[in-house]
């Protein structure tokens, strides 16, 4: 019966186009939003993953770099290096700084590039200097492009004029981005005399890391968070902020797709009611007829999915080159679940036409 479904679809080209277009729009919407969510989630964790640490030591109760402030006295380092199993403990300083430049609000997360301890360097420098000197700052290329800040420009960061010395990559996180200044400049900006925000602890080889963390947490002033957990805590910011929006857009996308497929297949079923009656009369079972309707919806959905997915990939690539903040990552896993959702949409939207089909009286075919 698949051939009849395909023939019915092809016969009504305008309706097929509407149906495929509706699904394609729905898939484009869902896939783009999911791609953005995934892209941003990855970006936010990308820099943190490059930081060399087994554990992030935070002020008790602090769980991430952005939502929960953490300030620790530098003396904590002595405690940490004294804990059996700790190989190294290095201070990591950084916090968000907002300022205006060329009439635009700019948010940077300024990190102290501590060359002495080899902590706080950019993940990748793609242009200009790799290490800032006094009075210099390295910013993310996305910010440079979107805010038109060029290498050599001077920007006012927390009352200090810093010259942009280079562009880094992989540190753009939604509304702000990582920037890197010398330890001294950062301390001046961050106003942390005798203190830092975190310590990065590495554990000696062959040592039970969990036991080391327990020994560190015996100090009530600090928490020890594994690197993976710390990445996840920071990534959750994107999830918590965007997941509700994504769910709403997902529902809108599904509603649009289902409405378009449902209506087009339903009107087609009504228009072809007599033909379905003929099929019933000549002995085609209801189940076979349902298969025709579902196959029509699924075929339209698959075509719409292919078109929508292609458009999503093209749009992401094109938008990313024009709008640097548009960071997307469309994974096979996401493509697979969106495909499953599309098929689900097709099957659910067939229910109404199938109900109509069930009510068609084959005896009607004898009426002229």
């Amino acid at each position: 019966m698949l051939f009849l479904a395909v023939k019915n679809l092809v016969q009504e080209k305008t309706r097929l186009l509407i149906s495929v277009g509706g699904v394609a729009f729905s898939v484009l919407l869902i896939m783009s939003i999911q791609g953005l969510y995934q892209g941003w989630s990855n970006k936010i964790g990308e820099y943190i993953r490059t930081v060399p640490a087994d554990y992030w030591i935070t002020q008790t109760g602090a769980t991430d770099m952005f939502h929960t402030p953490s300030v620790l006295p530098l003396t904590v380092r002595d405690f940490l290096t004294g804990v059996p199993g700790v190989a190294s403990a290095k201070p990591f300083s950084g916090r968000r700084v907002a300022f205006a430049h060329n009439g635009k609000d700019i948010n940077l997360y300024v990190i102290a590039d501590d060359t002495e301890n080899n902590v706080g360097a950019p993940a990748r420098v793609v242009e200009g200097k790799a290490v800032p000197e006094s009075g210099e700052i390295i910013i993310d290329r996305v910010v440079g492009r979107s805010q038109d800040i060029r290498i050599g420009d001077t920007i006012p960061v927390a009352g200090r004029e810093l010259k942009v010395a280079g562009y880094s990559e992989g540190g753009y996180i939604l509304s702000f981005s990582f920037a890197f200044a010398t330890k001294e400049d950062a301390e001046s900006i961050l106003q942390l005399p005798g203190a830092t925000n975190f310590f990065l602890v590495t554990v000696q080889d062959g040592t039970d890391a969990g036991a080391v963390a327990s020994r560190i947490e015996a100090n009530p002033a600090v928490d020890a968070i594994t690197k993976d957990r710390f990445v996840e805590n920071n990534t959750n910011i994107v999830r918590d902020t965007f997941l509700p929006i994504i769910l709403v857009l997902l529902l809108i996308g599904i509603a649009v797709g289902m409405t378009v497929i449902g209506l087009t297949i339903f009107t087609s079923t009504i228009e072809k009611a007599r033909e379905y009656g003929v099929l019933k009369a000549i002995g085609v079972s209801n189940r076979q007829l349902y298969t025709v309707v579902v196959a029509q919806a699924v075929t339209a959905a698959v075509l719409g999915y292919l078109l929508g997915a292609g458009l999503a990939l093209a749009t992401s690539a094109a938008a990313g080159s024009f709008v640097p903040e548009f960071i997307t990552e469309i994974r096979w896993l996401d493509a697979a679940w969106i495909f499953a959702v599309t098929l689900g949409m097709a099957v659910v939207s067939s229910l109404l036409p199938v109900r109509r089909l069930a009510r068609i009286d084959p005896a009607e075919v004898f009426r002229a």
Partner: protein, 242 residues
Amino acid sequence: MSVVSVRDVSKTFGSGHTAVTAVDHVSLSVDAGDIVLVMGPSGSGKTTLLSMIGTLMSPTTGRILISGQDTSALDPAQLSRLRLREFGFVFQTFNLLSALTAEENVMLPLLTAGVPRKHARAKARAALEQLQLGHRLRNLPRDLSGGEKQRVAIARSLANDPRLILADEPTANLDAKTGQDVTLLLCETACRENRAVIIVSHDQRLRTAAKRVITIEDGRLTAEEPGEHDRNCRMHPEAAPA
């Protein structure tokens, strides 16, 4: 055993004082090779009777046996299978599927019955060629004349080698000459292959194709007389030369 046995069948639509009896205690037997023409004025119950024989409508009282099988004992799925296996339908408005070619329309009952696609295509092609439609295999219904459409419908009705063909006003939408040709074609095919045919029509000219002519008025069978089939069917040696 009769192909069709209608036993004291009635059909009433509605209830109470608005009830209308469309078929009233009708009994009828049709054997293999029979070509029965059911005639009567509009509203006499012809089509209702045909619908009940075709298991598209159930009687209010009485029983209908198809090849000895009581249709009232069958569920909808079994009735579908029975129609697919035992019946061929020819409709007044042809009722070809508009999205399918002539060949595909004839293939449809075969594919529904599970015949492999290749065999279904070969059989549909042979049937259409036998009805002089070999040059119209790939044409959609909209590209066919009325007579051609009805011949495709006849080919479709014969596709699964049914024992009974039910035709509802098969000539109503055809000109006189085409109507007569199509009906003779249907009846000759039925005669040659020993199938039973029940035709419902107003068209008096169809008497020439029928073996039995039954008249129905106000839902009751009022008369039965022999038709003129044997004088006209080319399958019979006594037929008058065309």
